[in-house]
């Protein structure tokens, strides 16, 4: 990182360029079921990131030979819109997008009960409308919600968040400048109920101690985001039951 231009990312009061504390998340807004044509969808605003996720399926596998006999195939496409970045991005899928599609799919796959839908496919589309660092994590957060919105049985929701190092200090949820001028970036996808990590990547360098600290920070943030995901789902879906229906449930229980 020697050729990086030196910028002060943390001021004397310990605040970052956008005024956040070291362990503070950017503001997050989540919305479920925003698209009508998809079976499930979600929209996330994570700081200045704006990302749409859509899910189709489980549906017939096409082409047929990709189908698996014992479970559904999960396919994922992560894509950045040409207008999502400062410089126009070519709409053709880049090497980076291909890799992110793969790691996002692998971070979500363990949460999907795909064994209920053998020989079918579940298609997942993540479209980045505006990028501001941490799109893979925000994409995972939105995609998991879209899967739930599609009515696909999930073991639990997956939340994503990054931590990193700037000006030699471990911080949470890097923004665009911090990502570009900082020392390290550590994106994490996490499932709180099973306490498992679905994605862990690192760019830059950190000491073992810093890595542990950053990971703890990211996991804690994922727990916060997980609660936000649950709230977003509750806002769209709730069941009003009257007395007789409650009795019926009691009967089933008995």
């Amino acid at each position: 990182m020697g050729n990086k231009e030196q910028v002060q990312l943390i001021n004397q009061n310990g605040l970052r360029v956008d005024g956040r504390r070291l362990d503070e998340l950017r503001p997050i807004k989540l919305e479920v079921g925003v698209l009508n044509k998809a079976d499930g969808s979600a929209y996330i605003e994570h700081g200045r990131n704006k990302i749409l996720a859509a899910v189709f399926g489980p549906r017939e596998a096409h082409p047929k030979h990709i189908a698996l006999a014992d479970r559904a195939v999960v396919r994922c496409r992560y894509h950045m819109a040409p207008f999502s970045t400062d410089e126009r991005k070519s709409p053709a899928p880049s090497r980076r997008e291909l890799e992110l599609s793969k790691v996002i799919r692998e971070s979500l796959e363990p949460s999907i009960m795909s064994e209920y839908f053998p020989r079918s496919t579940i298609d997942l589309f993540i479209e980045v409308l505006q990028a501001d660092a941490g799109t893979r994590c925000a994409g995972i957060t939105a995609a998991s919600l879209a899967l739930a919105d599609a009515g696909i049985p999930l073991r639990e929701l997956v939340a994503g968040c990054a931590a990193g190092k700037i000006d030699g200090k471990v911080v949470l949820d890097l923004s665009d400048v911090e990502d570009k001028k900082g020392d390290a970036d550590l994106p994490v996808a996490y499932m709180p109920k099973s306490n498992s990590i679905g994605l862990l990547q690192m760019d830059g360098s950190m000491t073992e101690e810093e890595l542990k600290q950053a990971l703890d920070m990211a996991i804690n943030a994922c727990r916060t985001i997980y609660e936000m995901q649950r709230d977003a789902l509750r806002q769209k879906y709730h069941i009003e039951r009257d007395e007789s229906e409650r009795e019926e449930i009691e009967e089933v229980k008995a």
Binding site: D39, G40, G57, P58, R59, E60, A69, D70, A72, Y116, F117, P118, R119, S120, T121, D149, A150, G151, I152, P153, Y237, H238, I239, E240, R241, D242, S244, E245, I249, V252, K253
Partner: protein, 193 residues
């Protein structure tokens, strides 16, 4: 939405793909015609097959000549699932009362998880729908519902009511509100008996 009973969790799905079950009545559309049967889209992740031997006309000369004379491409049919498991695609039959080609009526498509709500407790909702709109309603377990009435206005009101039930499936006192809506709409039309 979820209830815990001992070591089991009962989850009420609000959405989801239609997974065929044996004996289900479904509405499907012919997508392909082969030598010995039809491929039928039943709006499930799996394509269904209707073998020629499972039509009431099986054995007659015309069948051997051309399957198209029974069900053509794009034809809508009421069928029953006779076979399905994790390893095989669903198999249909149109032998039986009430099964076969659909020649008239209007179709409403909703999510299959809402079908029990359309039928209601002991059929209360569907009985009310049929009575108040004066139509016949056949709910396919795959979420496709056929409405046939004496005139298009009645059918339209029934379809509107079905979509209203899907939209408000999670609320209580729904039967009464749907009934009020139907009565209001029925005022505007004259039903020729």
């Amino acid at each position: 939405m979820a209830d815990v009973v001992g070591n089991k969790v009962i989850v009420m799905p609000v959405k989801g793909a239609y997974i065929p079950r044996i004996d289900d009545i479904v509405l499907g559309r012919v997508t392909d015609i082969g030598m010995s049967g039809w491929q039928v889209d039943i709006y499930a992740p799996y394509p269904a097959m209707l073998p020629a031997s499972e039509t009431p006309m099986h054995g007659r000369d015309s069948v051997r000549r051309d399957l198209r004379s029974i069900y053509g491409g794009g034809d809508l049919m009421i069928a029953q699932v006779i076979e399905f498991d994790r390893t095989r695609d669903p198999l249909l039959t149109t032998k039986g009362r009430g099964l076969g080609k659909v020649t008239s009526g209007r179709v409403a498509r909703i999510n299959n998880t809402k079908i029990p709500r359309i039928i209601g407790k002991k059929g209360s909702m569907i009985t009310m729908l049929k009575k108040e709109t004066g139509t016949d309603i056949i709910p396919g377990q795959n979420g496709v519902i056929l409405v046939t009435g004496r005139n298009p206005d009645q059918e339209l009101i029934a379809v509107e009511a079905i979509y209203m039930i899907e939209r408000e499936a999670h609320t209580t006192g729904l039967t009464e509100r749907v009934k009020a809506m139907i009565l209001e709409r029925m005022k505007g039309i004259t039903v020729g008996q």
